[in-house]
Amino acid sequence: MLTWVKMAARNLARHGRRSGFTMLAIGLGFAAVNVFSGFTDYIFSGLQDTYIYTQGNGHLSLFKRGFLGQGKADPTQYLLTAAEQKGILEVSGGMPDVALVTPQLDITGLLSNGEISTIFVASGRVPSAVRAIRGQGPASLRKVGLFNGKQLEDEVTGGVGLSSGLASLLGLGLGSDAVAMAPTVSGQINALDIEVYQTFESALEAMNDKQMIVPLGFAQSLYDTESIDRVNVLLKDTRRTEAVRAELERRLAARGLAVEIRTWQQLSPLYAKVKDMFDVIFMFLFTIVFIIVVMSVINTIGMAVMERTREIGTLRALGMQRGGIVRLFAIESALLGLAGSLLGLVFTGLTWLVVKIAQPTWIPPQITRRVPLEVHLVPDTVLLSLCFMVVLALAAAIPPANRAARMNIVNSLGHT
């Protein structure tokens, strides 16, 4: 076998320029796939970490059954009561995979500066729990400043955060006072004073003129209820999300609690849409790379077969079987694929290094602030694409190699 590998390698080296161009095509294809995969991995992991940690939503959210369906028209009819909350906290808090459990109540209403009023959409959270969730996130995300001003506090329920657009619309700055109004769960209008503790950029540009973050106590006071609309669960390991969801669902059902559990993927529409979009782009890119690699290899091996017709005839005359001829060119092609992939690995590494050193930033669609642009090195994708390129190169060599193997020996020997 070593002789055939040696022979294949030497034949590639003998036609250095042609082999080099084919390796370059494979290498660039490999790098294109891996750099793009590295970029999408950065996007996906960024979206994942932002949803789970930065926004403090955790991995799982538990809702009263019906909240996500009929409850959209009248959410107050599908709130989790204090007794249900207690049951959920007991069950989920007792699971070893669970790191933290925290309640949430989203509210809507009007915010007024005394002269003008505008709609707000607020998320009522336990500030200390949200901070604890952020603390579990990646170090790179913990360093990012999320707001101007001071932190919200569990006990100071009137201290709230406003999206910069909302604050600007109402002419509110840090320390300003305003009034939030909303109907309670029983339908009466309620109003509470707020003080602007912080301003922040909404993750979604469309929400930047209406988003608020308020302590859970404030949201419950404004709605005049002890209920919540969901319980967020942070897990110790993201990979356990689905397993814990199933187990939690089983345990809660056994306890007689009618809840629906959604994972972070299900609740982050941006993640799913972005993933779908990148999957389609990847398919286009992959198809182009596939065609380039296959055409390059077929061309290279086809030329080699043509140039070495007499050699093929000689080998057949010396007793090499047809399979041996196919194997010879398949090895040559696999070596091309391997060398091209290794070249591509170097290109990918260089791209990663340049991005790492240059630290470019960009503003992704629907995001209001500049974020660092990264390209991740994804070992699984690198290994998979290396194997794929070798197999693809090998497969692409089969038609010309088969043609070589089926040549008439006498005609091959007479070929000049």
Partner: protein, 240 residues
């Protein structure tokens, strides 16, 4: 039993609507240890005869037997094995693999068969040494002269200890001194090892050395002359 038997062998080539009979009803027996040449003008059927006996091509009709076996009644795979084991080839253009050293070229038929042992390497070195190539073992063909390349090709043909070596115009691309050396070398190997040699040639120097001369004309045997009948040593058996 004859090493090679041809009975009423015909070979017809068809090119479009034109058919050419390259061999017509050829009957021929080649005995083990013979040093035999097929000669005749261009297009007389010498190379076709060599190709059929070398199992490189199939007859249109008639029967060929190699060591009593019908080589065309078996699969291509088995025929390849038979060629590898029982037949050695020496080509006019040497046909060495350019990316392999002289030693690797000699070992090529054994490599095709499977693993190459240290014993095989020793045998290849022995042949190269015997053919005066001990200083060129690691050289690739482009570093060797025509005569040296042909000697490597002869060593390659002999490494499997075949029953028959077929040499198609082996001296055509060599100068007269080198050609004479190659002819003498093959004659020695025939006498010492008993290897059967079948040549297709125009070379008078080679023709003068053979035991038997088959004169072909228009695809038929015109004359079959035994020039210097000599009993060679017994043919060595080939390890399958």
């Amino acid at each position: 039993m004859a090493l090679v038997e041809l009975r009423q062998v015909c070979k017809r080539y068809t090119l479009g609507e034109t058919s050419i009979d390259a061999l017509k009803n050829v009957d021929l027996d080649i005995e083990p240890g013979e040093f035999i040449a097929a000669w005749g003008p261009s297009g007389s059927g010498k190379s076709t005869l060599c190709n059929l006996i070398g199992l490189l091509d199939e007859p249109t009709s008639g029967q060929i037997r190699l060591e009593g076996q019908d080589p065309f009644g078996i699969s291509d795979m088995e025929r390849s094995r038979l060629r590898n084991c029982r037949i050695g080839f020496v080509f006019q253009g040497f046909n060495l693999v350019p990316v392999l050293s002289a030693l690797d070229n000699v070992l090529l038929p054994l490599q095709i068969r499977g693993r190459v042992s240290q014993q095989d390497k020793a045998k290849a070195l022995h042949y190269l040494k015997r053919l005066g190539l001990d200083n060129h073992i690691g050289h690739r063909p482009q570093k060797l002269s025509g005569g040296q390349q042909q000697r490597v090709a002869i060593a390659r043909a002999l490494i499997t200890e075949p029953a028959l070596v077929i040499a198609d115009e082996p001296t055509a691309n060599l100068d007269s001194v080198t050609a004479a050396g190659i002819i003498a070398l093959m004659r020695d190997l025939n006498r010492q090892q008993g290897t059967t040699f079948l040549f297709s040639t125009h070379d008078q120097r080679l023709i003068q050395q053979v035991d038997r001369l088959i004169h072909l004309r228009d695809g038929a045997i015109e004359a079959d002359d035994r020039l210097a009948p000599e009993a060679g040593p017994a043919v060595q058996s080939c390890a399958a």
